[in-house]
Amino acid sequence: MTNHWTDIKNADLVLIMGGNAAEAHPCGFKWVTEAKAHNNAKLIVVDPRFTRSASVADLYAPIRTGTDIAFLGGLIYYLIENDKYQHEYVRNYTDVSFIVREGYDFEAGFFSGYDEAKRGYPDKSGWGYEIGEDGYAVVDPTLSHPRCVFNLLKKHYSRYTPDMVSSICGTPKAQMLQVWDTIAETSAPGKVMTIMYALGWTQHSTGSQMIRTGAMLQLLLGNMGMPGGGMNALRGHSNIQGLTDLGLLSNLLPGYLTLPSDAEQDYAAYIAKRASKPLRPGQLSYWQNYEKFHVSLMKAWYGKNVSAENNWGYDWLPKLDAPAPGYDVLKVFDMMYQGQVNGYFCQGFNPIASFPNKAKVGAALAKLKYLVIMDPLATETSEFWRNVDEFNAVDTASIQTEVFRLPTSCFAEEDGSLVNSGRWLQWHWKGAEPPGQARTDIAIMSGLYHRLRTMYAQDGGKFPDPILNLDWPYLQPDEPSPEEVAKEYSGKALTDLNDPATGALLVKGGEQLAGFAQLRADGSTASGCWLFCGSWTQQGNQMARRDNADPYGIGQTLGWAWSWPANRRILYNRASADVSGKPWEGLKKPLVFWNGKSWTGADVPDFKADSPPDAGMNPFIMNPEGVARFFAVDKMAEGPFPEHYEPFETPIGRNPLHPDDPRVTSNPAARVFKGDMELFGTAEEFPYAATTYRLTEHFHFWTKHCRLNAIVQPEQFVEISEVLAKQLGIGVGDRVKVSSNRGYIKAVAVVTKRLKPLTVDGKTVHQVGIPLHWGFSGLTRNGYLTNTLTPFVGDANTQTPEFKSFLVNVEKA
């Protein structure tokens, strides 16, 4: 979230799209009801199904799954055409005036530089700004240049007419325009809309671009950096935000630092590439500090073993030999399926349930020599070899994988911090002792480390240095305490830190740092995750604070827990004030403003605190441009502007925007593994568009192990419309078989008015809803793993699987 849960109460309009907050985030949803009850906010829900969120919405519009880019792209054009955008904001705080290079082009569904054989854009040289002789990007503040971002944007979405969008999305035009007009009202400077989205946007082959389109919409409306605004990703696990923050993805280091690629063997070049210089005069470009963060990270890991002499241990960092995003789980499981993986450590993860195409995942696991499961529960993955009737019809004798199950404690049985969707690090305390022989993940990983280290020390090995040189200063080496680890992430001074200007002592050596501004690139500071720097200061554990005082009455509660970065609650909050530093006209309560001497307000300003408005520094300080991007330059895999592509399994068989070229029916830059393309089904055989989702009664595949959750949602079901049920002769509560080209499930039919057939591209499209929580272990009635049905393909940028859009057939079981 750019903003946070509590801040939703400041919204004038809430758009829930690509998510179902009431269902999946009921506790956070309270802030939507707050906004409605006490801020007179309206709630719009756009979703394939009339969800529990829709049940309390002021406006609901149906949409065909996987077509959100069309819906939002059409809205962007509609806003521009009808002059319903926040002019001053867009002109000053975004890249609309930037001139794009001549090499950029978009033609018949392809951006410039496409390589069909590689299914991607290896050459993105055209996707950038024109750089002037002064080294700065060229801009045209009059927005008249045909290649300025604004005109390219307008041109790109001019194809997304209301009729075209309605035809793609299946949203009835009148309903669609009603939604658009309501959203357009928030283009007034003081009117704010928040967008709440979740995996309904992420889990598509175009997921990242869907989210980007939402962000572009928010920029156009001037809603980024505003209280009650922003782009708010509702994270699916309580600590999945922490997972990404700490860089658990294979191409990331903690704090969104990136792992070098194979080609980046030179340390200085690695840093230079990331410490981007400002693209416009007077801009901050905060990533210029990259080396301070990087060196502090390496000092946290390796301590005295790294120094300027050995490039801070740069050679010990793995260099990624796979294109971004590296070894994502789809890729790893495909490798496993190809027999290229011997062993797999599965920690807090249930891949056979959570990953697409269960048959492929199961076959992949069966090719392992060993599988280690670290989990509090007896997951399906840990029992993938067990024959459970039709629900897991495997031949146990033929599976030779040796499975080790290491029971771990769960979050309630340990101290620690969780990072919520709103980037708050909240400390929590153990509520009970772990049962039986369960141990903490820290204890298990430490044990593994010590054994590996001993083996490397005794037996040597190809490259023992990264292991042998690790600093392990914990009081109890076998089980470092969560407090020690948290302090390490936050960071400390290794020597006395003096003010470079005055020489005054800032921090004594050995003391905790106050924030990442104190980090240095000379090895005098250590911080395991620069973004978390300041979460445990010399004053103590900031994450454990529980002061909900709200002096400005705007819900920012700076004394409650701690929010990255720098306890800042709303990112880009400088943009909540106009160019002159005054809160936007009409804003009910100010957030951050210039008081004549410095930036101040209810939140920690996301800005250089003493840079006066007339200095011309712009609010988006993490971008070298200083402004927000409509034009994504080379950051995205499939192009600088989001384009609608159909899901890989499309019920209409073509992309209405490019009806004649099957190459751009679906995302041309998405990776498809050998053998998986053939497993995609067609509408002839599998006529119905299906989508998978959670129910509020359960949490993924965990709570089916809990009696109370099992009682309130005991048995697997699928949702179909009354119209489709009638066509197929299916009654309420009948058992049905739902099949895709990869397998089938059987479940109870919930026949509902909440799903309606849509008219798409001249055809009637039925949608089928498939909740995901059942499996072959736990206290609920045994069910089929929903991901038996889903396709093995991911978003082109993140490789998040396309769980939300695929094709099925439905018949009476």
């Binding site: 269902e23 309270k30 009850a37 529990r52 009682i711 949602q713 509560g733 109870v748 919930v750 909440r754």
Partner: protein, 311 residues
């Protein structure tokens, strides 16, 4: 002493102890804020340590399928399309309404098995419950359920144990959206009034408070978007009252019945006193006509001797 707060007691004809004054409480369920997450169901089960069966899906979101002795509250889901085709998913938390004039209490034959506290809570005392199920018969909302395990009646207690020590009911405590609130009945009505203004501003012209007068008002109230047609919400009664049949049965029938039976016996006694017994005089003169028959037609049996006959 909780017993000082009891203002009504089942099968009891004399006034209950009620000297202590306490404010009436109420739980207000704002249906327009409810997202049907069932957290209240789970919280209820946790606080009261109830564990229903893991059942089946019956083709709806409702689980379990009905209230039971181990499910005291239940989210009921109704899909409603108005004339214009606008779909609404009306989700209502079902359970005991804690009527001011409780039909269960009126119907209960066992003294003290059902009590009403001065704060309005209607509570079952299973120790006195005999399991007859009359409370079910008396309830206008079809709430109490008899346990299969012990044949006692159970229902929502409004967490009288929590309320008694100044806490809110468990469902209120857990409700994530603030759809369930708790306080004095007056405060809840005030809160409801604000909600109704908001709902009316959103086009729900018939928004209103459900506090049905037919049962003297309730201590569980609803804010409804369509207060004019409560039955849309999975059959919430439009005008609930104790059934006239139950009222007669447990009202006039009780004293009148006993009185009439007593009177019948009394009439008999008076008849005995005033008219006297009807005694056969063995030497009673034979009346003309009938006697002739007897005399002239000699009955042989008269002369027969029956050894078995009592003498």
């Amino acid at each position: 002493m909780a017993t000082q707060d009891i203002i009504a007691r089942s099968a009891t004809t004399t006034p209950s102890s009620s000297v202590r004054h306490v404010d009436e409480v109420a739980k207000l369920i704002d249906v327009s804020k409810c997202i049907g997450c069932k957290a209240c169901q789970v919280a209820c089960s946790e606080w009261n340590e109830l564990r229903d069966e893991v059942g089946h899906n019956h083709g709806t979101y409702e689980s379990p399928a009905d209230l039971s002795s181990e499910s005291w509250t239940l989210m009921r889901f109704a899909e409603h399309e108005d004339e214009a085709g606008k779909l609404e998913w009306l989700i209502r938390k079902d359970g005991c309404m804690h009527c001011a004039e409780p039909g269960c209490l009126a119907a209960c034959p066992s003294p003290g098995a059902i009590v009403q506290y001065a704060n309005g809570i209607v509570d079952f005392n299973q120790d006195h419950c005999i399991g007859c199920g009359y409370c079910i018969t008396g309830c206008p909302f079809d709430v109490p359920r008899i346990s299969q395990k012990d044949n006692k009646a159970y229902k929502c207690t409004l967490c009288s144990d929590r309320v008694g020590v100044g806490q809110e009911p468990a469902c209120v405590k857990t409700c994530p959206t603030g759809a369930i609130v708790f306080g004095t009945k007056d405060d809840m009505k005030e809160h409801a009034a604000e909600r109704i203004v908001d709902l009316k501003s959103r086009g729900y012209e018939n928004a209103g408070l459900y506090d049905p007068a037919g049962v003297g008002g309730t201590h569980v109230m609803y804010v409804l978007h369509h207060a004019d047609s409560p039955t849309l919400y999975s059959g919430l009664p439009a005008n609930p009252s104790i059934s006239p049949m139950v009222q007669v049965w447990k009202g006039v029938a009780k004293p009148l019945g006993l009185l009439a039976l007593g009177a019948t016996a009394l009439v008999g006694f008076l008849h005995y006193l005033r008219v006297g017994r009807n005694v056969v005089e063995e030497d009673e003169p034979v009346t003309v006509g009938e006697a002739e028959t007897v005399v002239h037609k000699v009955d042989p049996s008269v002369h027969e001797f029956d050894p078995k006959a009592p003498r």
